[in-house]
């Protein structure tokens, strides 16, 4: 239904009609396809920090047409704002106004990316003020974007250069079509670890990845995306979903493992399968999840306990097995949800489990880093799947149309792309974090 609407408001007569009625006109988002140009036009690099020259060189190496001045009338594919050396809120004016003047030239599907430093308790008050101010201003820019363009930020820990592998991987992701449904978000880079892929079209070449809950929905899209990016994929789902799971496995030339992730030996089973059949276990995506929505006043133990068991307890138990196995460089990405951040009516159980995921990755980061790996979460907003198809129509329409800056639900692919970034070796400097893929909305499942 969303697709129909998207098509209608973007073509011919119905486009004019929608425009004159003032109906929301969600844009068709610019999504990644292998070999596609990184941006739909030249890149404007604003800001005079010392990182500028090195960064410009890298961007040129990516084949971008990099401009250092806002002059001219031509279309722009993207704008990068280097705000990492600002020390006072007063200094924001110049780069922000320059960016504002260029925004009108931003092509549909264009990108704004700001690079900044985190605001810390130890900062001088003015420094912390400008840094925290950047957070607010980028989120506001996101709300003002048109035509499927987005604004996001990268927050570099003190001392980490803008050309650190994870900073570049995050930048590449945010500029590309892979970040289509990521808007108003920040990716924090905490270390200079990581290696950039030889080929940005196959960042997971040679990796063995396990995706749970992969029989359908977001999990199936993750399997497809990791396969496209070069990984050998093991897909896991409950035995009862085995036929759909087999279809996914055969589509991605992977192997199917019928397994309920709440089984006490699920972690061992996954390791055994991946290592004996594919020689390694490099990536695990904890995607299996369920909803059992009920207002808390009407909640029963079966609903509450099953959601906790599948969505968070199973992950905690599997992670213990993975850590015990000391798999070198193992990277984990777990599915949180915006419900676990902003809350959602009828989802006290689900939000507890998804908030739980966010806490779990933060508290597990050091342990996984000790083996040379890492753990992060992705929090999707409203994504069009069988899970959200269960939401009543009216709620669904509101969730999809009104709340997100991008005025539409996301696709499973959009979530999968973010997971692909965090699963890659280039993301080694990103750890314990949660990245939202929500079109800058707060509603989700």
């Amino acid at each position: 239904m969303a697709d129909k609407y998207l098509e209608l408001v973007n073509s011919g007569f119905t486009k004019k009609l929608a425009k004159s009625l003032g109906a929301p006109r969600p844009a068709i988002l610019r999504r990644y396809a292998p070999g596609a140009p990184l941006l739909p036009g030249p890149l404007l690099l604003l800001g005079n920090s010392s990182a500028a020259q090195d960064l410009a060189d890298t961007l040129l190496g990516w084949g971008l047409d990099v401009r250092r001045h806002a002059s001219g009338e031509s279309r722009l594919g993207g704008i990068i704002l280097l705000l990492d050396e600002l020390a006072d809120p007063a200094e924001l004016s110049e780069p922000m106004l320059a960016a504002g003047a260029a925004l009108r030239r931003l092509a549909p599907g264009g990108r704004v990316v700001c690079l900044s430093r985190p605001a810390l308790e130890t900062d001088a008050p003015a420094v912390a003020a400008v840094r925290q101010g950047i957070d607010g201003t980028v989120r506001s820019m996101g709300r003002e974007m048109r035509g499927g363009a987005t604004a996001n930020g990268i927050v570099l820990a003190e001392g980490i250069p803008a050309t650190a592998p994870s900073a570049l991987a995050a930048l590449h992701f945010l500029l590309s079509g892979r970040s289509a449904y990521v808007d108003g978000q920040f990716i924090a880079v905490d270390s200079a670890d990581g290696t950039l892929p030889e080929d940005f079209d196959r960042p997971l070449a040679g990796k063995v990845a396990v995706v749970t809950g992969a029989a359908r929905g977001i999990g199936a899209a993750i399997a497809q995306t990791l396969h496209r990016d070069g990984a050998t994929v093991v897909v896991v789902d409950v035995p009862a979903a085995g036929d759909a799971l087999a279809r996914v496995a055969n589509r991605v030339s992977g192997t199917a493992l019928q397994l309920d992730v709440t089984r006490p030996d699920a972690g061992e089973k996954i390791i055994e399968h991946a290592v004996s059949r594919h020689g390694a276990l490099d990536i695990v995506i904890h995607n299996a999840g369920i909803t059992r929505d009920k207002l808390l006043a009407n909640m029963d133990a079966a609903r509450w306990d099953s959601v906790i068991a599948v969505n968070i307890s199973s992950q905690l138990a599997m992670n213990e097995a993975f850590l015990a196995a000391q798999l070198p460089g193992l990277r984990i990405v777990s599915l949180a949800s915006t419900s676990g951040i902003a809350g959602n009516r009828g989802q006290t159980n689900y939000a507890a489990s998804k908030g739980g995921v966010i806490g779990m990755v933060r508290a597990s980061a050091a342990a996984f880093a000790a083996n040379g790996g890492g753990i992060n979460a992705v929090a999707p907003g409203f994504i069009e799947t069988d899970m959200t198809a269960k939401i009543p129509l009216a709620t669904r329409a509101v969730a999809r149309m009104l709340m997100p800056s991008l005025m539409q639900g996301g696709l499973p692919l959009d979530v999968a792309e973010a997971i692909g970034l965090l699963a890659s070796d280039a993301a080694a400097g990103i750890n314990g974090r949660t990245l939202r893929v929500c079109g800058q909305s707060l509603v989700g499942a």
Binding site: P239, A240, A241, G242, D243, L245, A246, R247, A249, N250, S253, G254, T255, A256, L257, Q258, L259, R263, S276, R277, H278, G279
Partner: protein
């Protein structure tokens, strides 16, 4: 082995897959043999990552087959993600189809002719081929040969309304006109198998199958199909009382002595199964597990037409021969998988092996083969509980037995499958 024979290498069972079996005219009533076998293959391919591979051969078959399905297995292969260069052929040996398909593939692997293969079978009695009557067929053939209007009219004029009654395939034996169940009823009576013993065997089958599901035994042996994830014939809550309350279904002419009911006989069932075999090198090169060796298999047939032997007793003969060839005794096995066409079949088979006279006169043995440890019989359930889609049963048994042996880590398993036409195929598997 004579000096001329080539050195043979082991044929290894790597794993299997089947769809849940469903009672006829139930969940799969709209599914064709091709749909079901393709699904079983798809699940196997997904489990072992065989996409794009050219296998040595895929051999399978169906007992009840539409004439349009003359190349059933090859058509199925073309519908999967296996390499289109994978040869495939249909096998047909009644209920022993699956065993024959798997056994002959194993032979080819042992001889080094192929390195890998899938053997299995499928059957549906819900989508069974219906043939036009012989009368109508004659009229239609004449009509197609007629050149003139007169000749055409003449051909049509021979049509009689009774010719419209279609011929559905039955499980009756063409030469005796008796159904398989009525044949077994004769054997059951001849061996004095009690109703209680048959009901107990049926109950054990259901309990064992349910327990196997309970311990997730089938998680890597079954892939759901058409919304079904467990065998629909299974009755985990069955009791001896319930089974005892059923009326006789076969051998009704025996009156009060009739013992065979719908509860201790297999129902008509739809389903499909597939087993992946390979050489050791193949398994190693592809990082695939080796569950068991397919050691040997043997077919036998008996003269049931003239009453010399019971219709389903051929496996007793085949077992005697395969044991001798392999220098084994009947007690040298850790698992016995005796296909439960009827509870009476299994019990008559066991009784015959214990019977000195039968073993001497019929099997030509000096001593009876003896009794088996019944706790090793059909330990994860068999056809009475799972159902029996004729050609698919062999694949079900071989895959499950191979996994059981691998879990145990040592020992041997004996498979025995009876078939229509007085035939049977037995096999020996060895753990790895």
């Amino acid at each position: 082995m004579s000096d001329q024979t080539q050195a043979i290498r082991p044929a290894v069972i790597i794993g299997g897959n089947r769809i849940p079996f469903a009672r006829s005219n139930g969940a799969y009533s709209k599914a064709s043999n091709q749909d079901m076998l393709t699904a079983a293959l798809d699940g196997l391919i997904a489990r072992f990552g065989l996409q794009g591979q050219r296998l040595g051969a895929v051999a399978a078959g169906a007992v009840l087959k539409h004439s349009k399905d003359f190349n059933l297995v090859r058509e199925c292969v073309l519908g999967t993600s296996l390499s289109a260069q994978t040869p495939a052929y249909d096998v047909q040996m009644a209920c022993a189809t699956g065993m024959e398909a798997i056994g002959s593939l194993a032979n080819k692997i042992k001889l080094g002719q192929i390195d890998s293969g899938i053997g299995g079978g499928v059957d549906t009695t819900s989508d069974a081929p219906i043939a036009v009557s012989e009368g109508l067929r004659a009229v239609l053939m004449d009509l197609s040969r007629a050149r003139t209007t007169g000749a055409k009219l003449k051909a049509v004029s021979r049509f009689r309304p009774r010719d419209l009654a279609p011929n559905a395939p039955g499980t009756g034996e063409p030469r005796t006109g008796l159904s398989m169940g009525d044949h077994q009823a004769i054997t059951t009576k001849a061996w004095n198998i009690s109703r209680a013993a048959q009901d107990e065997l049926a109950l054990a089958s259901h309990k064992n199958l349910a327990a196997a599901y309970e311990r997730n035994f089938f998680d890597d042996l079954i892939t759901p199909f058409a919304g079904v994830s467990k065998d629909t014939n299974m009755r985990a809550d069955s009791t001896l009382e319930k089974l005892a309350s059923l009326k006789p279904a076969f051998g009704k002419n025996l009156g009060a002595e009739a013992t065979m009911t719908a509860g201790n006989s297999t129902p008509l069932t739809d389903g499909a199964s597939a087993v992946l075999l390979g050489s050791e090198d193949y398994a190693r090169e592809h990082d695939l597990p080796m569950l068991a060796n397919f050691v040997d298999f043997e077919a036998a047939a008996v003269d049931f037409v003239h009453g010399a032997e019971g219709l389903l007793m051929a496996p007793t003969y085949a077992v005697a021969r395969i044991l001798e060839r392999n220098n084994l005794s009947l007690q040298d096995f850790d698992f016995y998988e005796i296909h439960e066409a009827f509870a009476g079949t299994v019990l008559a088979t066991l009784a015959a092996w214990e019977d000195a006279e039968f073993c001497k006169n019929k099997l030509g043995l000096q001593a009876p083969l003896g009794a088996i440890d019944r706790s090793r019989l059909n330990v994860n359930g068999s056809s009475l509980a799972a159902g029996h889609p004729f050609a698919a049963t062999g694949g079900r048994i071989v895959a499950s037995l191979a996994k059981m042996l691998h879990e145990k880590g040592s020992g041997r398993g004996l498979v025995s499958v009876c078939a229509a036409g007085g035939q049977g195929v037995v096999a020996i598997l060895e753990a790895r």
